[in-house]
Structure formats: structure tokens, C-alpha cells
Symmetry: C2
Subunit: 127 residues, 2 copies
């Protein structure tokens, strides 16, 4: 797969990409891609982001093994965001949850945990 000509990267060269579990529809995470990250994602079939904090390409799962295998890539009407349907090889969140969206805003405006933890990153010795 090649990067379609219609894709519009932002003024910062990035496009937001939402990753959804292809099987159960759970939204797993959101990251940003530059052109190179999207090219790599399409070429290799594993989700690759541009890490804004580390300023480098980041193949999700390269350390943890919890990769995201690309099944389908969707583009929105303005071609300025992506939706990737993927097969996760393990819990996506580094905090040990299937999805990074494991907290919900409760009626008082506090964050409450709304998912079960698969592993404890402290006990697993990773971070």
C-alpha cells in the first residue's frame, strides 16, 4: 500500500491516527504519524507512529511486543485523520490495559478506572 495523494498532513507534518480493534471495535489508542511513519505502517503492516516527545519513529510494540497488526486503514472526509483497524498482539496500553482509554470522567469531574488491568507494569518489570 502506498500513501494516497489525497492525505493531508498538518502544518506540523503530522496526521492523527486512531487505532481500533478490528475484532471487537474497541478504540485502543490515538497517535500521530508523519509521512514516513504512515509509509512504514502501510509497507510493513505494523502500526508505526511519530513520537512527538522523543522526536523519532516509534513502531508500537517494538519494546513490549504488543504490536498492532494493520488490517484496514480508513481516511476521513477531509483526509486529515486516519482510522486503523488492527489486531493487537497484547494489551495496547503501557499501563497494562487493553485500551489506553481505561478511565472515564465521572459525574463530579473525577477520573474513574473503567476497565480491568491485564498486567501490572511494575510487577512485569517494564514501564
Amino acid at each position: 500500500m502506498q500513501v494516497p495523494k489525497e492525505i493531508r498532513f498538518g502544518t506540523d507534518g503530522l496526521i492523527p491516527a486512531v487505532v481500533q480493534d478490528a475484532k471487537d471495535g474497541q478504540v485502543l489508542m490515538l497517535g500521530f504519524m508523519n509521512r514516513e511513519a504512515l509509509e512504514k505502517t502501510l509497507a510493513e503492516g505494523k502500526v508505526c507512529f511519530w513520537s512527538r516527545s522523543r522526536r523519532k519513529l516509534w513502531v508500537k510494540g517494538e519494546t513490549s511486543g504488543n504490536s498492532l497488526l494493520v488490517r484496514e486503514v480508513y481516511v476521513n472526509c477531509y483526509a486529515n485523520s486516519l482510522l486503523i483497524k488492527a489486531e493487537p498482539l497484547g494489551p495496547t496500553c503501557h499501563e497494562g490495559y487493553e485500551s489506553c482509554y481505561f478511565r472515564r470522567i465521572d459525574p463530579s469531574g473525577e477520573l474513574e478506572t473503567a476497565a480491568e488491568r491485564i498486567f501490572d507494569p511494575k510487577e512485569a518489570g517494564s514501564k
Copy 2:
């Protein structure tokens, strides 16, 4: 609901918000919110974005009637993106599709339409 203190808006004052259909899990759209848009979303129960192109608050559906009624708001591990589970009152996309992600990248790198159109915006007289 109040804006939780943990929420981290970007250097541009914005946070990306993914909207998912609370019933069938379909990812409908992605937009950006500033603090005021998020406050309004939580206070009024209708999704409100910050329009980066028009530089103003934008209550989704204010013109079309196709509002997004907030059911739950989730926050990711870094508290720098949001996932809103919502009830859409009509097709979310201004192009007449349920989801803005109605096109898929095909193996040759072209965009193919992968959803059924609910209405034609030209015939409907809106845009």
C-alpha cells in the same frame, strides 16, 4: 461534569477527541477541543469542538441537526486525548455517511468508498 484537572491540552491549547457510536462501536469522527469546547461538551451533553479552520466553537449538528449526544467520556493514559461515546442523531459526516471514515486505502494506495451513503448533500441542499 467538570473538566478533570489531569487533562493535558497541547501547546496549541487543543486536545484531540474521537467520537464513537455508543451503540455499535463505529468510530464516527475526530475533532479537536479547547478547554471551553470541552467544558461546553460536559455541561450541555452535546459534542462541541474547536474549529481550527473557522477559529470558533462548533457544536456538531448546530446547522445540520445531526448532533452527537454524549453518553460517556474516556481519557487516555497520558490524558492527552479523549474518547467520547455518543448517540448520533443522524449521519455524522457532512458528505452524507454515518461515519466520516467512509473511505479505505486499497492495496494500490487509492481511496475506495467502503460505506453506504445515507443522503446526498447536493440533493439535500446542504453542504
